[in-house]
């Protein structure tokens, strides 16, 4: 188990490096950069002092250097001028648009993003698990058909529209404030119980909206796996011996069917994060989505790059955890993984 963990971590490092490179290339794809746009603007206004400041920033962040060197500076492999260190040193860079370090601009957005995505995964599981089991044990019943249909409906409705409509109804029916992940009065406050409570009371709309799109696939997979297991000989034997239905279900087939369920975190996370990005824009949640969009539009390269990097990191970590869980659940995976290498 230990060697497996270590090997998995070792694979993660080059993966993250390559991801960071791709991320940076994509962010840098549009011609020009934020500062060059700003310089052009300032030149036309003739603002001398600001112009100097921008030139200074440009130098400090190495924007005048070639692409590869800029990348190295961002990651922190290359020393930049004036004490700007890179990702590896835990420095997210500088946001040009907000004129602040990325770390400060972002504030607790990344934490909120994490909370949101984590809750969505929990929600998806909590919903998909009982429904999947029910659908498999009551195959072709009305309940099965109805729940499956519900799952499909969740799958086919575009997230953002669902978010809009749900938000409207939440407002009309329950008088909930529109948008946001917490009450506006808590926005820049330090964390407290009241703030956490406010977050919780706002969280359910985005969680439901994002969750519904993932549950359908999950239900279908669990149902299919469980159905496969239920047809096997050992289940028939156990049933013939008079084992109680519930114990029979929980003891063997369910445990077997659980494997792909855990493996699914890896598949689930990218789609959850995708979903949360767009839903966050619609609901104007104070998570990473809206700010990422804005940063991409204004070519605020370090801000956008760091957000993308954070999201990718979240996914990679999620996959890592799901792999570890799988290995803990199923020794076969560890063995075959080792033999193949």
């Amino acid at each position: 188990m230990l060697t497996y963990t270590v090997r998995r971590i070792l694979i993660m490092i080059p993966t993250l490096l390559v991801i960071s490179f791709i991320t940076f290339s994509i962010v840098k794809l549009p011609p020009g950069d934020f500062l060059s746009n700003q310089i052009a603007e300032l030149k036309s206004q003739g603002d001398k002092a600001a112009l100097e400041r921008v030139e200074f920033l440009r130098k400090q962040f190495g924007l005048d250097k070639p692409f590869v060197e800029q990348y190295a500076v961002w990651v922190g492999l290359w020393p930049a001028e004036r004490g700007f260190s890179g990702l590896l040193q835990g420095d997210w860079g500088w946001s040009f648009e907000h004129d602040l370090p990325v770390g400060e601009v972002v504030g607790d957005r990344m934490l909120l993003s994490f909370i949101l995505n984590f809750s969505v995964v929990l929600f998806t599981w909590a919903v998909a698990f009982p429904i999947g089991v029910y659908a498999a044990t009551h195959q072709y019943s009305w309940g099965d058909h109805g729940l499956t249909l519900l799952g499909y409906v969740g799958l086919a409705t575009p997230n953002f529209l669902f978010a809009l409509v749900l938000m409207y109804f939440a407002n009309v029916q329950f008088g909930l404030a529109i948008g946001g992940i917490m009450g506006p009065e808590y926005l820049d406050q330090p964390w407290s119980l009241a703030k956490a409570g406010s977050v919780l009371s706002h969280l359910w709309i985005p969680v439901i909206v994002i969750g519904t799109s993932g549950t359908a696939a999950m239900i279908r997979r669990l149902r299919a796996n469980l159905l496969d297991e239920l047809q096997k000989q050992y289940v028939v034997t156990a049933r013939a011996k008079g084992m109680p239905q519930f114990r029979l279900l929980v003891k063997y087939p369910l445990r077997m069917a659980l494997n792909p369920f855990v493996a699914d975190i890896g598949n689930l996370l990218p789609s959850v994060i995708s979903g949360s990005a767009i839903v966050a824009v619609v609901l104007s949640l104070q998570t990473s989505g809206p700010m990422l969009l804005e940063a991409l539009r204004s070519q605020d390269q370090y801000l956008a790059g760091s957000f993308l990097m954070f999201l990718a990191l979240l996914t990679v970590l999620g996959m890592f955890i799901s792999d570890l869980l799988l290995a803990a659940l199923d020794p076969r995976i560890r063995l075959t993984g080792g033999a193949a290498k």
Binding site: I11, P14, T15, V18, I19, I22, T23, I26, V27, L29, P30, P31, Y152, V153, L155, A156, T157, P158, N159, F160, L161, L164, V165, M167, Y168, N171, I178, G266, L269, P270, S271, I273, S274, G275, A277, I278, V281, V282, G289, L292, L293, L296, R297, A304, F307, L308, L311, A312, T315, V316, M319
Partner: protein, 390 residues
């Protein structure tokens, strides 16, 4: 056989009067014979036909795709026809009976009222204005696919009347017509994207599965990497990188390629695992020994063995592309007007006011919903039909 023996008595000796047929056990009924002689595709079709929902979905999809051939004819108005007197007009219901009398399909015309409390113009149907619809009539001129001039429409409003079954938008354009025109873009986006991902998936998966070894290892790591990217943020980043000065058509192709660029890993994996199994088969070895090039072995001998599978899995990934395009356009990062897709139309329904005041602007979501569902059911049916072991 039917003769029952009296209790204790002997069974009557029975001989069948029918002529003896020694091969009876092995001869196939005509039905079985038909089955054994059928091609793989035919069997697939038989299996598929049994899947009722998938069949209906296929018909729905066919209807949608057929409609894009003649969008101009089906739409009552043109894409950009504006009726400035009817801005944000609500949908008009189609009626058949007027005051208990059969009139044929008609709509009640609007009468406009100014609501002084909300300071909004409100349109209410006016029972005095009966406007019968005309069919196969002359209306707005158009160029079919930009080539053939025409002005024939399936249905038009009465002379001087209006026909807005789905309402109008903020410029007074007919929503139904715009949705019909949007179908053309929205449905083809998925297809082009699929073509891109199909190409990448088959080439990379093919190389990876056929050669194995370190090539396979590198490609597998790469696939894992691509899969760990959250799709939408990456799509957002890529489409933000599309130059602003590109023409709408170029943007359209840019977007489709972006959509296809992230979708291939699943396909590549499927191709690889199939190839890994198949390349050990005798017919593959025979082909190699006879001097076929790797490209030919893969393309001619190995791929056809699981094309049906590939097609099924491709069908299942079209909906995510359609939803992706919708999401991107909704955010304003995807297609831009004057190109009209369902996502571009939904872009107008971006804020809560629309939900409250003009809910009909959200109607483009209905075709999105229907098409995505249909593709899912269709793909499921195809996959089941393509599975030789069921």
């Amino acid at each position: 056989m039917s003769a029952t023996a009296p209790p204790g008595g002997r069974l009557e000796h029975y001989v069948s009067p029918e002529p003896f047929e020694p091969l009876a056990a092995e001869t196939l009924t005509p039905e079985q014979e038909r089955f054994y002689r059928a091609s793989a595709w035919r069997i697939m079709w038989w299996k598929f036909r049994r899947h009722r929902i998938a069949l209906i979905s296929a018909a729905v999809l066919l209807a949608f795709y057929a409609s894009i051939l003649v969008s101009e004819f089906l739409a009552p108005y043109n894409l950009h026809t504006r009726d400035t007197r009817h801005i944000y007009a609500p949908p008009q219901e189609v009626h058949l009976f007027h005051e208990g009398r059969f009139v044929g399909p008609f709509v009640y015309g609007y009468s406009m009222e100014l609501n002084l409390q909300t300071m909004r113009r409100e349109f209410v149907p006016n029972p005095a204005k009966v406007q019968p619809l005309r069919f196969f009539c002359r209306g707005d001129g158009y160029q079919l696919w930009g080539l053939v001039e025409g002005d024939l429409h399936l249905v038009c409003p009465a002379q001087g009347g209006t026909f807005f079954p789905f309402g109008t938008d903020r410029l007074g354009r007919d929503m139904l017509s715009r949705i019909l025109y949007g179908t053309r873009i929205s449905l083809t986006v998925g297809l082009v994207g699929i073509a891109v991902s199909f190409l990448i998936g088959i080439v990379l998966g093919g190389i990876s599965g056929f050669y194995g070894g370190w090539v396979d290892n590198v490609i597998q790591r790469f696939i894992e990497m691509v899969r760990s990217f959250p799709e939408l943020p990456l799509w957002m980043a890529l489409s933000a990188a599309l130059p602003v000065n590109w023409s709408p058509v170029l943007v359209y192709f840019g977007i489709t390629i972006i959509l296809g660029l992230l979708d291939w890993p699943g396909l590549a994996r499927a191709v690889r695992s199939k190839l890994l199994a198949l390349r050990e088969e005798d017919f593959a070895t025979a082909a190699v020994l006879m001097g076929a090039t790797p490209g030919r072995v893969i393309g001619r001998h190995l791929l056809p063995s699981f094309t049906s599978h590939l097609i099924a899995s491709l069908t299942l990934s079209v909906p995510s592309m359609i939803l992706g395009e919708t999401a991107l356009s909704f955010l304003g990062l995807g297609l831009r007007p004057p190109v009209t897709s369902w996502g571009v139309l939904l872009n107008e329904a971006q804020n809560i006011n629309v939900v409250a005041l003009y809910p009909w602007l959200m109607l483009p979501v209905v075709p999105v919903f229907v098409v995505v569902l249909a593709f899912n059911f269709f793909g499921d049916g195809l996959r089941d039909a393509a599975d030789p072991y069921k």
